[in-house]
Symmetry: C2
Amino acid sequence: MINNLNFEIISKDGIARNGLLHLNHGTIKTPAFMPVGTGGCVKAILKRDLEENGAQIILGNTLHLWMRPGMDIIQSHKGLHNFIQWQKPILTDSGGFQVFSLKELCKITEEGVKFASPINGSKLFLTPEKSIQIQSILNSDIVMIFDECTPYQIGSHIITMEEACDSMKLSLRWSKRSMDEFKRQENKNFIFGIVQGGFYENLREESINGLLDIGFNGYAIGGLSVGEPKEYLHQILEFISPKIPDNFPKYLMGVGTPEDIVNAVYNGVDMFDCVMPTRNARNGWLFTRYGNIKIKNSKYKNDLNNLDPTCDCYTCINFTRSYLHHLQITKEINASMLNTIHNLHFYLNMMNEIRESIHERKFDIWKKNFLEDRSSNI
Amino acid sequence: MINNLNFEIISKDGIARNGLLHLNHGTIKTPAFMPVGTGGCVKAILKRDLEENGAQIILGNTLHLWMRPGMDIIQSHKGLHNFIQWQKPILTDSGGFQVFSLKELCKITEEGVKFASPINGSKLFLTPEKSIQIQSILNSDIVMIFDECTPYQIGSHIITMEEACDSMKLSLRWSKRSMDEFKRQENKNFIFGIVQGGFYENLREESINGLLDIGFNGYAIGGLSVGEPKEYLHQILEFISPKIPDNFPKYLMGVGTPEDIVNAVYNGVDMFDCVMPTRNARNGWLFTRYGNIKIKNSKYKNDLNNLDPTCDCYTCINFTRSYLHHLQITKEINASMLNTIHNLHFYLNMMNEIRESIHERKFDIWKKNFLEDRSSNI
């Protein structure tokens, strides 16, 4: 037996919905965006600023944390929350996505995945059981099953239906083993399954049905944003989201741009994670209401405007684009810090606006205005 | 005519003293430590955290700011305070120290210093007049005269008295030109002279007398911490500090360790700047009450203690040494951020304790305890 996840849907507008997800470290309002805290921190931002900007839950990466600091250190801190001093909910991925990104350096068998540590070359073996054991030690509020993230392309060819089918079926068997291990650990948190199947609708349907048979606390849509043409994301999302029963939280993994997120909420998705706001911040790529800004561009050298006239984050309240341009050009750590505050504020504030507009049954209008503003590129 | 600087000495304990230095952007309590904000920011810390940790005044580097962003940008922001959004006092160096650190890439004449920009190789010419013009545009609360920082060694030989004398006399002529330009600019801020003369007491004395004849608002001791044996610092400091009349602020440039600062306060010094707390932070070298810690050391891997048991900074209140070790090992920007908060807090809190102990006429006891604690290396 696993614990029952209390997910309340409190308002709806079309298929889009507002929910309350009650986890062991607190309740989060959905739709929610989860900043990515890879190896024990969200890069270039302090937890105080994360909280001030409205982060409710962050994501940790199992593979990174397993390799460094290692589970003995996490255990002596009694879990990831204490180690990183983030007492709100944490979701962890299973490590699968990261392992497979090593590509030729990893070998997949029925049992699991053998690979060489990118840190020190030591041989590691990750299995569904191992992944769940690690996530149990981390004490993640939401544990993700260990699966194979089906790629869009292998070498030069787009993955065939047969290949995608084999991959999806392996993932289903690993999902079952993940759930068995989760129960064996008597884990009191919650576990989500991940729908795979590539870009084949029949495989996606087989995947969700198999996962529903096992019976998870929530369902993620995986294997998107893996290099496919943009229209596939929309097509698969529109197909698969309604197949996940509405009483479960729906989580679209690794997505994406503000536009992708708005579109996914429109299709009933409740949870998101993406490195885009944080990684792009460090590269000087900034999200604003009126389009994206590459702050290194020389046209901002003497631009005395604030970054985003609609934004009230610490960065926008205090500094000119000219100053942010200067910090980026001179490669100051402070550029990454100020840009990260802004980009995360942009994403988290967007989620706020989404939730409010759904609550007021004005999501369609909000969505239209937001997308228009974004594409205006003032 | 230049404005009269209001520097009140409010209490004394031996030669050590507490003062109030009234500048155009606010009053600072001395003895004061000035965090270094080289190119428009104190690296890896937000101004909010600088203020929370008790920074009263920061230092900016004329040469860096002249090269980037350039004076047109600073002018359109109406000064450095607005550009970097630090509305408390700022002291700027004259650019001399940085130019001379380029060594063989710069050529000194009576008129000034020719050098190639380390950014783009373009030929630049810095003179006393130019330096003061730049600092006037920056609107620095305290402008430093342009001088030659006499080195301890040239090539393989320790600088001779003749060389040190020539250098000191050039600096005196440049000091006069700096003052003339400061007056020509009708600058409403304050200007400090810099005592040079290497490690020759007679030259140091000639230097301070020459500067006093010109008549500055305050006097800095330059040309120390330039690679000389430690005892020279103490010797020159003990010799020269009493030669600066007590009604002027005394500023020891570029110094130093906590122990150096405590010793200099004991010799009547009021102001300090040093990159040590910030630069060392980024390298994982942390100052604590009970000695210094290299956080990368594997003995901290599973150390569940806070960094400094006597410290109440954000870093020490929240995190274990184990976590800080992990961030440093994984080269996270967050390591630099948390370490910088702690090291600056350590320095600024030390200055607080110094001021309180002088006020209570217990500086000697405080100093003894502090130096004992520091050397205990628990």
